[in-house]
Symmetry: C2
């Protein structure tokens, strides 16, 4: 069959590593524009584009965002911080101007608009990398969302979903390992795991040099304990869950 | 500066169109494997890979999914259906085997794992397109999630987030238009919209040929009313929101 698309193999996808150290070089406006355009080419619900991208370059604002992101220094170092938001506010305002009655301040549309925001973010990330820039996603976006809402002045109907820092890399980290593909792919329906299967799938992670380093560093016996006790422990999970739900009420996506 | 990555411009991103008609040709196993590998190269929270991808090719199962996806025929026609799920079940089971105490059945991790699932999905979509395949996202994944949970036998801790149908395109639709970039991009902080700004930003959408066609088809005066009254109307939004929240309770991500 004749393929209707341009077929350029995307080595960029297989070369991705998160960049946490940046050069001070600014990102050219025209390049940034092209990268953001790439974001808007992603699929989105009903072509309604219920997301917004806040581009923060001002040093004082980035310092505030650095506080909100648990003081990860890449927020100060990278010249560009992009906050991807679910946004039903703009679309709803436009509907109201047009004698239409929008009803998108609810959980379905928070979830849908969040998916759209993330699809745009990944296009932005890849287009940036394809142009020699480095990026890192900030999961801390969901830890204290109200701080970000305040700093970026997000109105009701707008929720921060994920953040990218972006700039020219000052490091070339190795590719990180992944679980074997069989760990995340299921044939036809979900194939639940036996203990034996899990042992095989996680064997490489459990025996890696990085694991040995982390066990020594944190004084743990098992790498799973580094996740559950140190990196993503119960107290922090519960506090962030509560903060997310509170922010969703404030922004109008859940009833109070 | 020397760029550490392979720098291949990704025309694929700018050529994306959703494909809704498919040829019967199967997708080669080795190609599908490479495409799924591309998904796993996306950024993810703490390299925990808290997502799963269910690959459904069986015709009888696809017919069940077709019912759950509001009988969109592309679910029957495309040879491959990929359901991307937030999945804390596998990671938690592995932790429990390793004398660690996981606490990831909560809203933070639903949201975080959903973001990871969508990042993987977009890599899969782009890698598929770069190899001559077509894809379409199914927003209906969030309309009746419990039906999908039942069909794919998703255990507690696993939530369907988005779905891709995939196969060789039997159509070449035109690129869809997008809002001007200024509609979705904000400088430094969120810049709220005036009515005048919205009129300018939505002018192209309001006056397009497709809009004229839809207004005539649905007997509406304004295109916004096609969204609020026909495509994404209040009753459906509320039913799907309730269904999502109920599914999140069932899967252990929200308290009952």
């Amino acid at each position: 069959m004749a393929a209707p698309f341009s077929l350029i193999p995307m080595e960029t996808i297989f070369s991705h590593r998160s960049i946490r150290r940046y050069l001070p070089d600014a990102v050219d406006d025209a390049l940034l524009q092209k990268i953001l355009e790439a974001g808007t080419r992603a699929s989105n619900t009903g072509n309604m584009q219920v997301y917004s991208i806040v581009v923060t370059r001002d040093a004082a604002l980035r310092r505030k965002l650095w506080e909100a992101h648990m003081r990860q220094d890449m927020v100060l170092e990278a010249p560009v911080v992009l906050t991807f938001c679910a946004d039903v506010h703009r679309f709803s305002a436009w509907c109201e101007m047009n004698d239409a009655t929008p009803d998108y301040h609810n959980f379905l549309w928070l979830y849908t608009a969040s998916i759209d925001a993330v699809l745009a973010a990944q296009n932005v990330a890849l287009e940036a990398e394809a142009n020699g820039l480095g990026i890192c996603y900030l999961g801390t976006t969901n830890y204290a969302p109200e701080e970000i809402i305040d700093i970026l002045q997000l109105p009701r109907g707008v929720m921060p979903v994920t953040t990218l820092v972006m700039g020219y890399p000052a490091q070339t980290p190795p590719l990180t390992d992944r679980l074997p593909l069989a760990a995340v792919v299921h044939d036809e329906t979900y194939q639940d795991y036996t203990d034996d299967t899990l042992r095989v799938l996680y064997a490489r992670l459990e025996s890696s040099e990085e694991t040995k380093r982390l066990l020594a560093l944190h004084g743990k016996q098992k790498i799973a304990q580094v996740f559950t006790d140190v990196r993503y422990a119960s107290d922090g999970n519960r506090a962030a869950s509560a903060a997310c739900l509170k922010a969703l009420v404030r922004q109008g996506f859940l009833p109070g």
